[in-house]
């Protein structure tokens, strides 16, 4: 019924084409809440990826056993179990990180990226593909969180991964580590990424145009960029 794509593609699609943050606009809560620093972002993404991968694996294993009426309830219990595992382990082994991510660890349960992937992918594919898909999504999530966290950390506290990267003369913009800064930064990032994509698309179109029309309209089109 469905065309089988290559395994590497199964992984790679999460990086950009179906990036959970930039493309699907999912998992916004942790994306915005914990990215006051790059480290927090990475840690959160790791935790999410862990849950995503394991729950994908389990769910794709038992996908045929679950009756559809209790599908969501079952999935979410499985997810919640892994989240609790992450939480307990973190509190036991990495108390500082656990403090920093605070109440947002339990909210991984309701991160729509995870439930979304279970429903959209793991419930319909074999364990190998599901795990690859989960890893890809996790990596994509990590890319987004790390870059957002990095930007906010640099401007908001002059540091990157805890090391000072901007001179003392630079007054940090406190707004960047506030909620407002999170929304604004992500909004602007998405806007600029979109405009890059748009630009590339226009260039491709201009190429087609140039090939098939012997008029300077193609140049005109290029002029409309931006």
């Amino acid at each position: 019924m469905k065309k089988q794509v290559s395994l590497s593609k199964e992984y790679a699609k999460g990086l950009w084409d179906q990036n959970p943050v930039f493309k699907q606009v999912l998992g916004m809560c942790p994306t915005l809440a914990v990215t006051v620093s790059a480290m927090n972002g990475i840690a959160m993404a790791l935790a999410t990826t862990f849950v995503l991968v394991f729950s994908s694996f389990i769910i794709s294993l038992i996908r045929k056993l679950i009756p559809s009426q209790v599908r969501i309830a079952s999935y979410i219990v499985i997810i919640a179990t892994f989240v609790t595992i992450v939480d307990l382990v973190m509190r036991a082994q990495f108390p500082d990180l656990s403090k920093a991510l605070g109440p947002y660890i339990p909210l991984i349960v309701v991160n729509c990226v995870i439930l979304g992937r279970q429903e959209a992918f793991a419930a319909k594919n074999n364990p190998l593909r599901s795990v690859l898909d989960a890893l890809g999504m996790g990596t994509g999530f990590m890319l987004a969180l790390a870059s957002l966290g990095g930007i906010r950390e640099i401007i908001g506290s002059r540091t990157l991964l805890g090391m000072q990267v901007l001179p003392d003369a630079f007054e940090p913009w406190l707004v960047m580590i506030l909620p407002a800064g999170a929304f604004l930064t992500l909004g602007l990032m998405m806007g600029f990424l979109n405009s890059l994509v748009e630009r590339r698309k226009r260039r491709d179109e201009a190429a087609v145009l140039a090939q098939h029309m012997r008029t300077p309209a193609a140049a005109m089109l290029e002029g409309q960029e931006g």
Binding site: V36, L65, I66, P67, Q69, V70, A73, S74, V77, I78, A80, T81, T84, I85, L88, V89, R91, A92, Q93, P95, G156, S157, P172, L174, I177, L178
Partner: protein, 188 residues
């Protein structure tokens, strides 16, 4: 009927596996988490009573309180965890105070949700340092914009007056409770 049985069995089974697994995990994690928590408290106690070498929990009071000792088990004073309202939410702190309850040894902020970069300055060294050796009778007071002149005064942080005042308020409130308890002989 078959689906109903399937539903019951599946969801119960998942619940059972999940509950069991988590219980086993928690039996491993719980002691570690408790230890972490204890280490945190211990660290805070020694931070607010730098010269202390050991401590014990005071059991008779209605609130959490630690008495600290030097090498020779002489009582140095107390470490009092206390909390109150800050600018945006609860602030939890540890107050170190001398045995006669008249001088503060140091303070430490344990938990807060103040404005990052602004209210959070109360957790930083320059502000906390003002409390070291601060006279706490009749109570701690604050001044704004100018250096303190009296020995029971501290200067508030520019732009974070409310957070600064909240800290002072929590310290005073905690000490007041402690004194009341002492007067009733509870802590002895």
């Amino acid at each position: 009927m078959k689906t109903i049985v399937a539903m019951l069995v599946t969801l119960s089974l998942i619940g059972v596996v999940s509950g069991g697994g988590l219980a086993m995990l928690s039996s491993w994690a719980d002691p570690l988490i408790a230890a972490n928590k204890k280490a945190d408290t211990e660290r805070a106690i020694f931070l607010v009573q730098p010269s202390a070498k050991s401590y014990e929990k005071v059991e008779k009071v209605a609130f959490e309180l630690y008495r600290v000792f030097d090498e020779t088990k002489n009582p140095l004073g107390y470490a009092l965890p206390w909390e109150g309202n800050g600018f945006q939410g609860k602030v939890r702190m540890m107050v170190g105070v001398s045995a006669d309850l008249n001088t503060i040894t140091a303070i430490e902020v344990l938990d807060q949700v103040e404005t990052p970069g602004l209210g959070t300055k109360v957790t930083e060294e320059p502000f906390r340092k003002q409390f070291q050796g601060l006279v706490a009778v009749p109570q701690v007071d604050w001044v704004k914009g100018v250096p303190p002149t009296k020995e029971n005064e501290i200067q508030t942080i520019t732009g974070a007056t409310i957070s600064s005042k909240a800290i002072v308020g929590i310290v005073n409130d905690g000490l007041a409770h402690l004194r009341k308890d002492m007067a009733q002989g509870g802590a002895q």
